[in-house]
Amino acid sequence: MNARIDAERVLDAFLAPEADRLPDHVIDAALADIARTPQRRAPRVPWRFPHMPALSRTTSVAAVALVAVVGAGSLIYLNATGPSGTGGSTIVPTAAPSASQTTAPTPKPSGSGIAGWTPYTSAVNDFTLGLPPDWSVLTRATRDWREGDVFPADDMPYVDVFSSPGSDDETIGLFVWDMPGGDAEDLDTVNGLKAFAQRFCTVAGQSSCQDFTQRAEPMCQNVGGDTCRAALLVPVEGQQFAFLVDFYDAMFDEGDPVDVRVVVVARENGFPSAARYGGSVELLRSILTTMDVWTPGQDQAPQDWFRER
């Protein structure tokens, strides 16, 4: 054998085309599945970073960031409607995400007792998560976030808002929405998500952005068989953030910018009502496990997704 192997020539021969015949039963089985599978038709409002001037882009991100900051930080909205008031509604069980049913992620969930949680699926933001059964849905998103949205506003049609039970000063708010991640960041990496989170904070005008991602922790998102794609947990003083990429959306929404899913638990870690969940950080971790996002196991670190934009 030559000292220097011609790998290309070897592979040409090794992978050479030949008669491949897909057995009929495979197609038949697929078509039988398809007959039972509805197509996903959630219309998405087109929005592009690249077509926006820099100032406009920043302003838009700031507006979205405010959804989290104002909604999560002050709970003004939450308190106005009140978890025990008329604004709340019972969580309606929906199908759990298929990915979590078909794969067994290697990381161990840090949260516990989530088995009896109630799944909720956002028709607009296209996520499924689980919540304690006594939590309520305050508002369901009715459309995607889009350029020109104003916040704060009386309603936030692009955010799914949830609340724990209790009086106004006891409740914990949870806010979840998708926002375009832009095209400048390497969002499939922890560092890319950190950069996104940092910008998210800065443009939102938070006072302590210097340290916003200081306590950021890598998380593992289970996507199909990939058990550790990058996600990020960002605990800060008054609220707990998580940022994760909607990989399925990125994979199948041809030409769309990658969406980042923002999940916010709107209380400080030591908030009394959060104690039964182990604190608001642990609460967020538990919620994230229902979204197939896990604390990495030992010797496990998020791997870059084999895709760049």
């Binding site: 090794f14 491949d20 794969t103």
Partner: protein
Amino acid sequence: MRAAERAERVDRDLVELAQRGDQEAFAILARTRGDRLFGVARRILRDVSLAEDAVQQALVIAWRELPRLRDPDRFDAWLDRTLVHACYVEARRRRAWINSIRTLPIDGPAGPDGLSGLVDRDEVDRGFRRLPPEQRAILVLHHYLGLDSNEIGEVLNIPAGTARSRLHYAHRAMRALLEADARPRAVAGGRSS
């Protein structure tokens, strides 16, 4: 209109029908592409059963997500991407099986083929299996489907330059594995002589 153009037009019509929920149209698309999908999956996964599962899964996902495809003319690249991701999932989900899989026909006793005189087929197979699924996929797209960097980029949704560099690294990894396999044999041969 040339035959190729007519075929493309028919395909486009079928894709558009399928996007609107026409299962028969999708069935035609699936049947006409099944063998090619299977060929790709079989080579990436090196296992017939896993490849069948990947194709089946890819077709179901493609059906479900088809309304999101904006340009019906890009259906094939989009379908290939769906298949490649289904292969990643299968490869990782059943990694434990990979070492005990049944042998592919193309892995059988080597008859006269393009590999004769180049390298031992078992060594190539062993080396190829040790590559991560992503590198196997890019090599299959290039060496089996004959796609260039631009086309690979379209399938994997990555820039052409990135596809080129990944292809380069995949070749380099494969070469390293083959050379590592060859080294002990050469040493052993040297000792016996």
